[in-house]
């Protein structure tokens, strides 16, 4: 009786504009590029996929269900650059078949550097989701599915979540199946849903790969793979970037047709169904404990933090950024706080990754920089300006203006 649980990650950062050490203004973000990318992705992915999902939910009369985690920084951009996407998400929310998850509003790595900031961003995100979609998230996913025992404990302590979503990495499962629910070592109510990375990546990464011996992947074949779980698991967690549909896998690969047929094929087997994360957590018990003393994520083959913290530039940029927290917050300047927080999006540090850089690979997707070094230089220049704003006597100037 495997349930299938779809969760899509929906995120685009505020990319920085080219900012040199000689720049002195406070326009840090590349409005033109962000607008262009947002609208392009909206047209190729968000709009057609939202319409498809909406259609599937209607056609299956509530038996097809999905979950989304949409970052605050993307919601801000959608509201401004592609409001039509917002209305389709709103329509999805009203079907009752869509769950929205909680995460840090800015898609940040704040858990690693400031627990206060981490919590503030989660609350900001939950408030935004509730305001826009009328539901308060009950399940948490951390940026890039970064997870450890400590994260579980921090979420448990907040007392408002039923579960956490993370990667079903081999080294935490040790041969166990990702298709069961698990719990962290510390006693509590939180259950863990682990990504079935093999089946998820079949769709997200391998779908259009002609060298893959399973190509072309059809809904029927994929459903057979899901059926094989029957009797050995409760739920198949298919977690992926939403941009899989139409962006990572272009329309002409047949990805939309695959998705259109998938619910039918899955539900051909009478024991199968679709569940949202909250439903899966309510329906199934946690069978075992997973111990995750060290941080994991869903990135690259390593499934660790090396994509954001793999070199000296990345760790320097992150440390310097979070060192400014108190200074920024003390100013009480809202636009300064918002700028500082937008710099926290993990993407900025991902662009600084030197791993695989010589080979030129996936890290290039939507990456506005030619090299990780350019990205670091730009980031540090912006942060330098932000830092100056903290020390300037903002208040006195405001008084003068009044």
């Amino acid at each position: 009786m495997p349930s299938v649980c779809f969760y899509f990650q929906v995120h685009q950062p505020f990319r920085l504009r080219h900012y040199t050490v000689f720049d002195e203004d406070q326009r840090y973000f590349d409005t033109f590029k962000n607008k262009a990318i947002c609208q392009k992705v909206a047209n190729k992915c968000y709009l057609p996929t939202n319409r498809l999902i909406l259609d599937l939910i209607k056609r299956h009369e509530g038996r097809f269900k999905v979950a989304y985690s949409i970052t605050g920084v993307l919601l801000e951009q959608l509201a401004e650059y592609a409001p039509e996407v917002m209305s389709t998400f709103d329509a999805l929310a009203r079907t009752g078949c869509v769950e929205f998850l909680a995460e840090t509003y800015y898609h940040s790595l704040s858990f690693l550097y400031s627990r206060n900031e981490f919590k503030e961003q989660i609350f900001k995100h939950m408030d935004t989701v509730e305001k826009l979609f009328g539901q308060r998230p009950k399940v948490f996913r951390n940026t890039e599915l970064i997870y450890s025992n400590d994260l579980a404990a921090a979420i448990e302590e907040m007392g408002i979540f039923d579960g956490v979503i993370t990667e079903g990495a081999d080294r935490i499962l040790g041969g166990r199946s990702p298709n069961f629910l698990y719990k962290p070592p510390k006693e509590g109510k939180i259950k863990l849903l682990l990504k079935n990375y093999a089946l998820s990546d079949d769709i997200a990464f391998r779908f259009s790969n002609r060298d893959w011996n399973e190509w072309p992947l059809m809904a029927e074949k994929f459903s057979h793979w899901v059926n094989r779980v029957n009797g050995n698991g409760y739920v198949v967690n298919l977690f992926m970037d939403y941009e899989t549909f139409g962006e990572h896998q272009w329309e002409d690969t047949g990805i939309f047709n695959f998705m259109r047929q998938l619910p039918d094929e899955i539900m051909k087997h009478p024991d199968n169904n679709f569940k949202t994360p909250s439903e899966a957590i309510a329906a199934y018990p946690a069978t075992d404990v997973v111990n995750v003393p060290e941080l994991i994520s869903w990135a690259d083959m390593e499934r660790d933090l090396s994509a954001w913290l793999g070199n000296a530039m990345q760790s320097n940029a992150l440390h310097e950024l979070y060192r400014m927290e108190n200074k920024v917050k003390k100013t009480g300047d809202k636009s300064l706080l918002s700028d500082w927080r937008k710099l926290q999006s993990s993407d900025h540090f991902y662009y600084m990754c030197t791993k695989y850089f010589s080979d030129g690979d996936v890290h290039k997707y939507f990456n506005p920089y030619d090299s990780p070094y350019d990205s670091y230089i730009n980031f540090m220049n912006v942060m330098g300006n932000l830092d100056k704003r903290c020390t300037k006597p903002q208040h006195s100037r405001q008084k003068v203006m009044k």
């Binding site: 050490v21 000689f22 530039m313 850089f357 010589s358 990780p372 070094y373």
Partner: protein, 433 residues
């Protein structure tokens, strides 16, 4: 193999490249006869060896010195009277002597050191005669030698290559380390262009040091693309690995280095323009211009004009130990070349654990990823990147670590192997023998 210069008497990349390539070929078991012009000794020989003329050296002696490394290489020298050419040389050494003298007095050069001089002297009509004398002698020499392929390096040796090919009927490979467009921009010397064009068209294969150069060969010289192969230069490891500890004794002043000929091609004015910008936001930094060339006087003047004379240090031409020392002190190497067919110097900087900033208009930028790049004309961006390297140690560190690793992948052995494959194709032997 027909060359024009060979270490230790070199003016730049060409001699280094010929040395690296032939040494690697020797390892591959290829037998090379290297033909060089031999100059009649000139007075004051210590200063007249930089530009293209390996004056008064005894190559048979040199052969002994390099015996183990270059065991399959034979050196042949051609006597040629290079007296007329020495005038251009003398001029250059004069400037240098004057600058050196100034520095010894403790002052930093801020004003023009040289008197007015004709800057185009080195490619004068005498050079042309010289090139043809070299060709004539090469033919004579070729009659006594046994070989399969003729490999000619840069335009000075193309007439010799053509002549030898015509007489012997052996296949000719011309190796383009630079073109007249790189050296002179749009003010092309027609005579040199004609020689280059004739050489490339008559050759059976043209080797370009980068795709940048290949494109110039195709678009400016009208050579058929199928005939042109790209073979990147390499770099020899010094064998001492990552020397990250060597600059532990930190000085409070940062050093930004320009090392190369101070000529139009190398973009010295962009270096100075960027220096001016950097100095607007930073104070504890000095800019070292190591090298000489026909734009040296202009550069000294420009530095003074920009009001940054006291921050710019002109060292004149450096060699051996001096180069090593300047690398040890440098925080960043900048190569703002307007047009650089390849650019071995950045590889040497990386080899010495100095991070580099190179112009996008360079062949070497095709093979290096762990470096900073900017358009040569974008002085703001060059300055922006210089400041970043000086200000943020993690940037410098990451560039060093990855750059030093990356540069190890560029090996002369690979370049030699590619040349070998080209030779084999030309003499119609099955590949891989």
């Amino acid at each position: 193999m027909l060359g024009w210069e060979f270490p230790p008497f070199i003016s730049g990349g060409l001699g280094t490249a010929c040395y690296g390539l032939t040494k690697a070929m020797s390892k591959l078991g290829l037998e090379v006869t290297f033909v060089l012009p031999k100059a009649i000794p000139v007075d004051n020989s210590s200063t007249c060896v930089k530009m293209r003329t390996p004056a008064d050296i005894n190559y048979s002696k040199l052969g002994e010195k390099f015996d183990s490394e270059l065991k399959n290489i034979k050196f042949k020298t051609i006597d040629s009277a290079l007296k007329p050419y020495a005038t251009a040389e003398t001029y250059r050494s004069e400037i240098e002597n004057m600058i050196r003298a100034k520095q010894k007095r403790g002052g930093v050069t801020g004003i023009s050191a040289a008197n007015d001089s004709d800057t185009n002297g080195h490619y004068s009509g005498d050079m042309y005669t010289e090139v043809h004398r070299y060709a004539a002698s090469a033919v004579k020499l070729a009659m006594q030698e046994d070989f399969d392929v003729i490999h000619a390096h840069d335009w000075m040796t193309y007439p010799a290559g053509l002549a030898v090919a015509a007489v012997t009927g052996k296949p000719l490979v011309v190796h383009v380390h630079s073109t007249e467009f790189d050296r002179s921009g749009e003010n092309v010397n027609q005579m040199i262009y004609n020689i280059e064009r004739a050489g490339m068209h008559a050759a059976d294969k043209v080797i370009a040091v980068s795709y940048l150069t290949k494109n110039i060969i195709l678009s400016r010289y009208g050579v058929n693309g199928d005939k042109v192969e790209v073979v990147y230069n390499g770099i020899e490891r010094n064998g001492n690995g990552l020397n990250l500890g060597k600059v532990e004794v930190r000085k409070d002043e940062k050093i930004v280095l320009f090392l190369g000929r101070i000529t139009m091609q190398k973009g010295p004015e962009y270096f100075l323009g960027a220096a001016k910008k950097v100095l607007e936001v930073m104070d504890n930094v000095k800019f070292v211009m190591a090298g000489s060339g026909d734009m040296m006087r202009k550069s000294i003047e420009l530095a003074a004009e920009l009001g940054i004379g006291s921050k710019i240090l002109f060292t004149g031409f450096l060699r051996g130990d001096e180069v090593q020392k300047v690398y040890e002190r440098a925080d960043l190497y900048v190569m703002p070349s307007v047009s650089e067919p390849f650019g071995i110097a950045p590889l040497e900087a990386l080899n010495n654990d100095v991070p580099v900033l190179i112009s996008k208009q360079s062949g070497v930028s095709e093979v290096l990823t762990h470096v900073l790049k900017a358009d040569f004309w974008d002085v703001d961006e060059i300055a922006n990147k210089i400041v970043a390297v000086l200000k943020y140690p993690p940037l410098q560190m990451t560039l060093k670590e990855h750059g030093n690793f990356e540069v190890r992948k560029l090996r002369w052995e690979d370049a030699a192997e590619k040349c070998k494959q080209i030779y084999l194709q030309l003499i119609e032997q099955p590949v891989g023998v």
